[in-house]
Structure formats: structure tokens, C-alpha cells
Symmetry: C2
Subunit: 213 residues, 2 copies
């Protein structure tokens, strides 16, 4: 009766199947019964690995967040690290637009947040400014991703200009839109940094020191 080659259920397998299902059929298509069927199992079996649907949704967010890549210290400067991290974030959103909507109501992973925070600290920002910067960058990125997913208002989608451009060019254009705001924030941060660096150097912290904590 049971299929032979069926891998056993596991939290991980459930989460991945859920992400795939939502990618395919949207958030509204996700139900415990439907997901169970997808895995060849009754709905209630899922509860052996996940306490309830809310936790399932949270786990799906986790899975996506794991995919965010933050460039290492070997990269050019902190600007490039930050840019890379948030671009990666946006790309996750683009790869899983339906799942990403869950990010609107669920907090970022503390782990990723900490890593980015450390980059900002490493750039010479004091704790409070680094928090401010983190808030600004992550707010912008999540807001942008959500807006892109649902479509920006005022954007004349069917305009003649759009039709002339080849798909690859449109991709570039799409990235440029995001970078516009991202660079506005990053270069604003750099200015603050330079200004305070020139003023007093009140915190002893070299521009790339291996200082932790």
C-alpha cells in the first residue's frame, strides 16, 4: 500500500515542499491537507514535525533567509558588502515572490541581522548609528521587494519604451531601480561616516580593524 521509495517525513522536507508548493500555487493554495497530499501523507502527520500552521509559515521564512548571502570581509569595502547582502535579499524575494510576502509580517532572522550589523560596526559605525543604518537598509529592501512583487504604482507597464527593450536589458533596468534607493542610503551613510571621522574620531576603531564586541 505504501510506496516503496518514499523518503521519511522530516521538518526540513516539509518546509521545502511547502515552499515549492507556494511557489507553484500561491499562498492561498497552501493548506495542511494539500501539503500532506503533496508529500503522500495525511495532513495530521505533518503535526509530528511542525506544531501548527503558523510555525510552518515561520519555518518557510527561515528556509528562504538561509539563502541570503553576505559577502565576506575579503570583499572591497563595507559598501560592497552591504550592497551585496541586500541585493541577495531582493533576489530571494524575486525567486519566491509568494513566500516572500510572509516577510511582511514575520521578523528577519536574528542571525542574518547580526551579521549585517557587524558589517556596519566594522565600517566604523558606533552601536546606535549602526542600528539606525540597519533599520534604514532593511526597511527599504523589504519595502522595495514587496512593492516590486505587487507592481509599483504609476509605472506605465505597457508603454512603448518597455516593449522596445530586450528582456536582458529590462533586468538591468530592474536592478538599477533598486540600486537607486540603496545607493541613496549607502552614500548618505558614508557621508555621515566621513564627517564624524574627520571631526573627532571619538571611537578608536580603525577602518578595518578585527575588533569584535
Amino acid at each position: 500500500m505504501g510506496e516503496v521509495g518514499r523518503r521519511p517525513l522530516s521538518r526540513r522536507r516539509i518546509l521545502e515542499a511547502a515552499v515549492e508548493l507556494v511557489d507553484r500555487e500561491g499562498l492561498r493554495g497552501l493548506s495542511m491537507r494539500r501539503l500532506g497530499r503533496e508529500l503522500g501523507v495525511e495532513a495530521m502527520s505533518l503535526y509530528n514535525h511542525v506544531p501548527n500552521k503558523e510555525a510552518l509559515l515561520g519555518g518557510m521564512v527561515e528556509v528562504l533567509i538561509e539563502g541570503v548571502e553576505i559577502p565576506g570581509e575579503s570583499s572591497a569595502g563595507w559598501e560592497e558588502q552591504v550592497r551585496g547582502a541586500f541585493r541577495s535579499y531582493l533576489n530571494i524575494a524575486r525567486a519566491h515572490p509568494e513566500v516572500f510576502q510572509l516577510f511582511a509580517t514575520r521578523p528577519l532572522g536574528t542571525g542574518e541581522a547580526l551579521r549585517i550589523f557587524e558589517v556596519l560596526r566594522g565600517a566604523g559605525l558606533d552601536v546606535v548609528p549602526a542600528l539606525h543604518a540597519f533599520r534604514a537598509l532593511s526597511s527599504y529592501t523589504i519595502g522595495y521587494a514587496l512593492a516590486e512583487i505587487r507592481g509599483f504604482p504609476l509605472e506605465l507597464e505597457g508603454g512603448p519604451r518597455a516593449l522596445e527593450l530586450a528582456p536582458p536589458l529590462k533586468e538591468v533596468d530592474r536592478d538599477a531601480k533598486f540600486d537607486y534607493g540603496l545607493d541613496l542610503i549607502i552614500s548618505g551613510l558614508r557621508q555621515k561616516l566621513d564627517r564624524q571621522g574627520a571631526k573627532g574620531d571619538s571611537q578608536r576603531r580603525s577602518k578595518r580593524g578585527p575588533d569584535h564586541r
Copy 2:
């Protein structure tokens, strides 16, 4: 059987009751039956004024958006107009945090978008830069509002510092957090503006001209 002083049902009345219900009991507490009961009516009666629940949610967003106030041209400069508009946006989110979560998946009202867009145009921005600016500002604001509602990561909420501050001071602090990123973007925009203004003045457009379109 029917109560005497009962006003007749209407789309508007339904939407306002829905907002109030969600404010009170959260998004999960909103169902057609529950909302009907709130209005002293059966669930199916609502369908005479609203095609389905999705449209109901959309209508609730509309109601909130109507509350956004954009300072008129009489205000100081375009910076203050923009700042005021997006602060107003954030305040709506704070007044109706549960309902605001719907903004994550539903587009801004085209009307409000247009008015803000015109402010940016009036500031001397060409069409494309104004679109970029609008995207950056609205993405940041919505992202920030959502993040504030769910709580920022890394924020040591129970820290000793927080406890020492009086509630009014915390309010100020809360606004300062939002303004930090908002000002980063606005001052970045101003720089771009000044730079291009000094460079070629390629578009004949005085800094405060009554130019429309």
C-alpha cells in the same frame, strides 16, 4: 424583530466596521460572519455591497489611504512636503497596525501616489528621477512601518536604557528612528538635485515655479 434605529447597510459602513473590527480583534478575527454580526446582519448580506472578501480587504486599504495627508504647496519646501506626507503614512500605520499589514500585498492608491509624484516633479526632478525617488521613499516608508509593527530585530526591548525614558521621550525616539532613514534619502535626493541644477539646467524649471505637468 429588526431593530428600529438601524442605519441601512452600505459599502462605506461595512468598510468602516471592518477596519474597526480588525483594529479591535486583529486580521484573524475578521470573517464575513463575524463582520455581519457586528453590523447586526447575516454574512451574506454583505455581498450585496462588496463582491467578495478580497474586495473587502482592498476597500479597507482605501479607507486608510484616504487618511494620508500631504502638506500643500504653501509648506516650506518640497523636502517638508515629502517628509510630511510619508510621516502621515507612518502614522496611519501606527493607528491601525493590523489593517496596515494589508498594505504589504496591496498597491498604494494611485491618487496619493500621483500627488506625491507631483511634489517631486515640482521640486525640479525630471520624470524618471521623480519615479526613482518615489519608489525609494515609499518602499522605505512601508518597509519601516511593517518592521516597526512586528518589532525590529536586534532591538534590546527590555534594556535598562528603555526603562529610564518617559513615554513621551520614547515617542520622540521612535520618530527619530524613522526620520533617520527618511532624511538619508531626502538629503541624497537634494544633492542629486543641486548637482544637476548646477551642471546644465537642462530642464528649464525654476525651483518653485507653478509649473504643472
